[in-house]
Structure formats: C-alpha cells, structure tokens
C-alpha cells in the first residue's frame, strides 16, 4: 500500500480516476470502445508535442514555436506528396522529421549558442515559421482527394485495432522514456535544468545540450505536422495555431516543473490522458463548446498553482531530511 501511495505521480493518478468517474456519471455514452479510441486518436498528436515540449521545459526553457513548426513541416511534406505521388510514405515521414529538426536546431542555436531568452527567441521563430509555411503553401489548401491512400493510412489506418497515429505516440513515448532515463545525454538535460552552473563545472556543454533538447522538440513537432495532415487528410498553413499552449498545458498537468529539472514520462502520459478526457467530456456536453478556451485556461492556472506548491513542499521535505542527517 505504501508503495502505491509513495508513487511520484499518485496525486495525478487520483485526479485522472476522479475525472473518469465524473465523466462516467454525467456522460455515460463516453465509455464505448470506439469513442475512447477516437478520443485517443484526436489527442495522440498533442501527446507527441507534449513530449517534445517536456524536453525543452526540463532545460528550464520554453518553446512556443512548435505550432508553427507543425504547420511548416505538415505543409512541406503534404504539398510535396501531392506533387510526387509515386514516392513511398516513409519519405514523407522523413521529410516531416527533417524539416522539424532543422527548425528545432534553429531555435537551439538561437537559445543555446547565441544565448537569447527562450521565450523571445521562439516568439520570433514562431512568426518566421508560420510565415514560411504560408509562403510554401502559397495560401492554398489540400483536400482529401489530393492525398495518396498510403499517406493517409500512415496515420489514419489501423493496426491491431488501433489507429497508426496512436502507435506512433506509443513508440515516441517509449523512446523518450528510455532516452531521458538511460542515456547520458538525457540525464545531462536534467542536469542543466536543475543547475546550469554546477552542470557547467561538471564539464557539460550546456549550449550543446540545449541544442539537443530543442532539436528533439522540433523534430517531434515536424513528425506531428506530417501525421496531422495524414490524420485529417487536410492541409492548410493555419493548422496548429495555439497547439503550443495545449502541449505546455499537458506538461504542466503532468507535473513537469516549469522552472526546469523535474519531469517524468509517466506524468506526461497521465497529463495527456487527463487533457483528452477533459476536452472530450466538454465536447460531449451540449452548448459547452464555447467554454473550451476558458476552461482550459482555468485548468492550467490551477495546475500550475498545485505544481508550484508541490515543488515547494518537496523542497521543504528534502531540507528537513538533510537537517535530520546533520
């Protein structure tokens, strides 16, 4: 029993179960397998964006350009796809990843190497990528008949009864979990998030590590862009507006410290599930769809409030333990 309550994200888990129970009482129609799967499908992209955002938040930075990167990568891969239909879909996944990676590295160079404040640097690149997305697309939209079947199947097809986009999310989550907990580079991201100076003294090049973090974030956003166009069989330069806020909200709900250095992959998974349950729940209630933004904003404030107070409590407990040792 103690093992269960001692679990780091126990509070989050309780919150998720509570939400599910409330949803079950008010809208029981939510609990059919097909609607649950479609709920997961619609939120898989947010989950992947949140994983990328998590790496950036761990370094103590923030990336608000991911919505624009999503748009740019999606537009590039889908527009090229409609011109070169004979190429296999793997190419377009690679194109999406590559465009996103380049965008992420631009962010990383601005922040890690040229030492610009993350918020302002990504604010600038948010404008630039969105504008480039418009220039690439020429303001045109793509409609379902312009997509090849294999391209759409890449996200909207089904494998083992689940949509492919969900499998993509699972793979990304597993890889991210392994990367951040096992690999040296992953641990170094935590090191510079906790204390840049001491990490520097320990021989960690914080500029390079930030480059890695923003690169991962951009690459994932690029992948999401490609999957977004495939998932909805639709492509326009306006897609992904405001997605960065949702990704940040998921991270905060999942217990990622905004000050850096604290994050767990299972927390992000739970945060993603909570967010998807909330949005789906609201969309099921009649006449509440205009409330979406306000409710999301209120949830973020409450979540940050809890997040900050929990970090404070944890720090106090650590101090007490240290005092007991001395």
């Amino acid at each position: 029993m103690k093992k269960i309550t001692g679990y780091k994200n126990f509070g989050l888990l309780v919150g998720l179960v509570g939400l599910l129970i409330i949803a079950a009482i008010i809208t029981p129609s939510m609990y059919s397998p097909s609607s649950l799967i479609s709920m997961l499908r619609n939120n898989a992209i947010f989950g992947m964006l949140a994983v990328g955002e998590m790496f950036v938040l761990i370094t103590g930075g923030i990336d608000i350009s991911i919505g624009s990167i999503l748009s740019l990568a999606g537009v590039v891969s889908a527009m090229q796809m409609s011109k070169h239909m004979e190429l296999p879909t793997v190419v377009w996944v690679a194109v999406g990843l590559g465009v996103g990676l380049i965008c992420g590295l631009v962010n990383g160079i601005l922040i890690g190497k040229l030492k610009i404040v993350p918020m302002i640097a990504t604010l600038g690149t948010m404008y630039i990528f969105r504008g480039m997305s418009f220039l690439v697309s020429g303001g045109e939209w793509l409609f379902p008949h312009q997509f090849t079947e294999s391209f759409i199947n890449c996200a909207a097809g089904k494998t083992f009864g689940l949509y492919n986009v969900i499998w993509f999310e699972v793979i990304v989550l597993v890889l991210a979990g392994v990367f951040m907990n096992v690999f040296t580079v992953g641990r170094r991201i935590f090191a510079i998030g906790t204390n840049v100076e001491s990490a520097h003294v320990a021989g960690i090049n914080d500029g390079n590590i930030k480059l890695v973090a923003y690169g991962i974030c951009g690459a994932l956003a690029g992948l999401c862009g490609m999957l977004y166009t495939a998932n909805y069989a639709m492509c326009s330069y306006t897609m992904g507006e405001g997605y960065e806020m949702t990704a940040i909200a998921i991270c905060i709900l999942g217990g990622v410290a905004i000050t850096g250095g604290r994050a767990t992959i299972d927390g992000v998974i739970i945060g993603n599930l909570m967010m998807s349950v909330i949005t789906y729940f609201i969309s099921l209630l009649p006449g509440l769809s205009v409330w979406q933004d306000a409710i999301q904003g209120a949830i973020i404030i409450v979540a940050v409030l809890i997040n900050v107070s929990m970090i404070k409590a944890a720090d106090k407990r650590l101090l007490k333990e240290r005092g007991a040792l001395i």
Binding site: L123, I128, M245, I258, V290, V304, L305
Partner: protein, 420 residues
C-alpha cells in the same frame, strides 16, 4: 567605517558631461536613423504618395492602436517578466465597455468600467506572479486563454457595435495635420518617462530587474512593486481598448486582436528594452512604435503580403536582440576561435604584446611633440623605441609558433592514446 574620515567619498553631485560622439551612437539615435532610412526609402519609391496630403497621418494612425500596450509592456519587461495576455485583456475590456453601452449607462461610466476591468485583469495576473511566485509566461498564457475564453462565452459569434463616438474620433481625426491619437500617445508616454526616469518607483523597477534578491534584502517590497506594475499593464490594456476599438471602426468580436501582444513585445525589444530585465528606456520603444508603423506600411506599399510581414517581424525581433550581443567580447571570442586556434596562451601573449607596442607608440608620439629635445636626440630615442617594438613583435611570433606546435603535438599524442 564611521571612524575612517579619509575614506574616499563618491561625488554624487558630479554629472557625466554631454558628449556629442556618444550621443550619436546611442541605441535611441540608431532607431531614429532607421526611421529616417525607412522614410527615405518610402520617398524614393512613392514620391507622389508620400507628399500627398494625409499619407503620413494615416501611417502614424495605423501604428497607434498598439502604442498603449507597448508602454505597459516596457515596465513588465523591465522586471524580467512577460505578459502575453494583454491582447486578450484589451478585448475583454472593450467587451465590458460595449456591454455597458448596450445597457444604456452613461458614457463616462462605460469607459471607466472598461479601463478598470483591464486593471482588474492585470491585478489577477499580478497576484499569481508576485504573491504565488508562478512564472509569468505560464500564468499569462493561461490567463490569455481565460480572458479570450470569457469573451467567447459572452459574445459567441456576435459583434458589439455600440461604442462611445469619441473612440473613432480619437483614432481617425487630426488637429492641424497632427493625429489626435499621436498627441494622446505622446502625452501618456510623457507620464511614463517621468515615472520611470524621475521617480523612486522607476529606480525600483531597474533594481528588481537586475537582481530581485538584493532588492528584497535592501528593504524594498518586491511583491508589491510587481503587483503595481501588473496593474499598470492591465490599466494600459484597458486604455488600449479605446484606441483599438476606434481603429477598428467601433466594433468588437472575440477573434479580434490576436497576436497584438507579440507585436507589442517585438516593439519593446526593438526599442532596446532587455528581456532579461533591468535595461532599457521609454524613449526607445516610443520611436520603435513609429518605426514599426512606417515599416509595415512601406512593406505593404511594396506589395509584400501580410504573412511575409510576419516573417519580417520575427527576423527584426531576433536581430534586435542579437545586436547588443555583438560587442568587444563577441569579437574576442571569434578571434580566439579562428585566429588563435582556441589556444588561450597564444591569445594572452598576443594581447600583451599589442598593449606593450601601443604604449611604446604613444611614447614615440610624445617624443615627437616634445620641444625641449634636439632633433638628433629625438631620432635616437625614436629608433630605440622602434627597435623595442620590433624585438617584442619578433618574440611574440616565436612564442606563438612554439605554443602552436606544442598544441599540435599534444593533440597528436592525445589522438594516439585514445586510438587504441
């Protein structure tokens, strides 16, 4: 401390004398040059349009809807914080005024209601940032969703059209060729200049921006000051709603004014306000407001579409931040990397020699000017100095070469050791 009467006392009455050369390369003056450059470009491209009546007024008026947000944002950035909720706050204030007008209340009450709503929203942000110690970015992102969400709930897809008539008059009319909005903007910015540069409140902002911990220890209530600044920002957002609604021709819907917060931040940064806090003046952003208005108008005339202008805004934002980074240290870093092969010993010896040579050259100049010495004595002393310079430079070259070969050998040895 008290016993030591001979301790040097800093002369507080001394003032740095005015130097024209320093004044001309100030950041604010740079902005003025940029503004003139844009104007020249516009004159060359469209001379007929530029000198026709009303063009310049139209350009200036087009930039004034942002001006109030810019003024508020200066103080926020001065603290090292950020407020991305100000555009949503502005729309919310406009909505409150519109709803009160619909209810048939007196005009003064409606305007005051709108501005106070802005202040209230600012206080809401300030409470979480100052007293709850939450990061300003996250709080204001959330509250921007919240404020805009409230507008969406109340208005849905409706448009409010009932606004005081002086709103549009303020934004569109001019007195003797000078836009009324610009006069209002300059008057309000005068208050901000006095507040930031002439009061203790302004000094406190600089102090908090530079080091909040030290400020706390020196007995200043940081939380209260932060709260005040956020309330000022909120009130300015409320005032901005007057300019904005007037500019939009007296109508408000829930999707208006998205991205205004980003433009306001971009203008502040272009105006030389550091986003790390503690640096900047009010004059810079005031000039930058005009630069942005002229730039966007010029680009529009040249046939650049709205989305390419977005790219321009982004690039300007990043370049404006990068320019202060290009200082002596930056060049030294580049030189170390590319000229001295990352070898700090080489760098040190080169800098040392440069300094010594510089001193010797000054000596030569002094000797030349010295009237007491005879001509041949002068020549002899000069030669002595020149010889010294030559030997110094020769020695420097030799040591540099030696150090470089040493480094290469070290690298080769290290490669050999780790190759196994």
């Amino acid at each position: 401390m008290s016993g030591n009467a001979n301790a040097p006392v800093r002369d507080l009455t001394a003032k740095e004398s005015f130097k024209l050369s320093k004044f001309l390369v100030k950041w604010e003056m740079m902005l003025v040059y940029i503004l003139i450059l844009i104007n020249v470009a516009l004159i060359i491209n469209k001379p007929g349009l530029y000198f026709s009546r009303g063009t310049i007024q139209a350009i200036i008026e087009s930039g004034m809807d942002l001006s109030m947000l810019v003024l508020g944002m200066i103080f926020i950035l001065m603290l090292g914080d950020i407020d991305v909720s100000c555009a949503a706050n502005m729309i919310l204030s406009a909505m409150v005024t519109g709803l009160m007008m619909d209810a048939g209340l007196p005009v003064i009450l409606c305007v005051a209601g709108g501005v106070l709503t802005g202040g209230l929203c600012g206080a809401f942000n300030g409470f979480f940032v100052a007293y709850m110690k939450m990061p300003a970015v996250i709080v204001t992102i959330a509250t921007s969703m919240l404020f805009r969400g409230i507008v969406k709930i109340v208005l849905d897809v409706n448009v409010l059209k009932n606004f005081p008539s002086f709103y549009t008059a303020l934004a569109w009319s001019d007195i003797a060729g000078i836009p009324v909005a610009m006069i209002a903007f300059l008057l309000i910015s005068l208050i901000f200049v006095l507040l930031l540069h002439k009061t203790t409140f302004g000094r406190r902002l600089y102090m908090i921006g530079n080091n909040p911990t030290v400020t706390t220890y020196s007995g200043i209530n940081v939380e209260k000051t932060k709260m005040e600044v956020f309330i000022i920002m909120g009130l300015m957002a409320g005032l901005a709603s007057i300019f904005f609604v007037g500019r939009m021709g007296g109508g408000v819907s829930s999707t208006m004014g998205t991205g205004y917060e980003m433009d306001a931040i971009a203008i502040c940064v272009l105006g030389g306000v550091s986003t790390n806090g503690g640096k900047g003046k009010v004059y810079g952003p005031i000039i930058a407001t005009f630069i942005m208005a002229f730039l966007i108008y010029t680009l529009g005339l040249m046939g650049v579409d709205a989305n390419s202008r977005k790219i321009m805004t982004g690039i300007i934002l990043i370049i404006a931040i990068l320019i202060p980074n290009i200082n002596r240290e930056f060049w030294a870093g580049l030189k170390l990397k590319f000229v001295y092969n990352n070898n700090k010993n080489v760098e040190a010896i080169n800098i040392k020699t440069q300094n010594e040579v510089k001193i010797l050259k000054e000596e030569i100049a002094a000797i030349k000017k010295n009237a007491d010495l005879s001509a041949d004595k002068k020549a002899a002393k000069e030669k002595e100095c020149l010889d010294k310079i030559a030997t110094l430079q020769k020695r420097c070259k030799e040591t540099t070469a030696a150090l470089k070969t040493e480094q290469q050998e070290d690298n080769a040895a290290a490669k050999k050791r780790f190759a196994k």
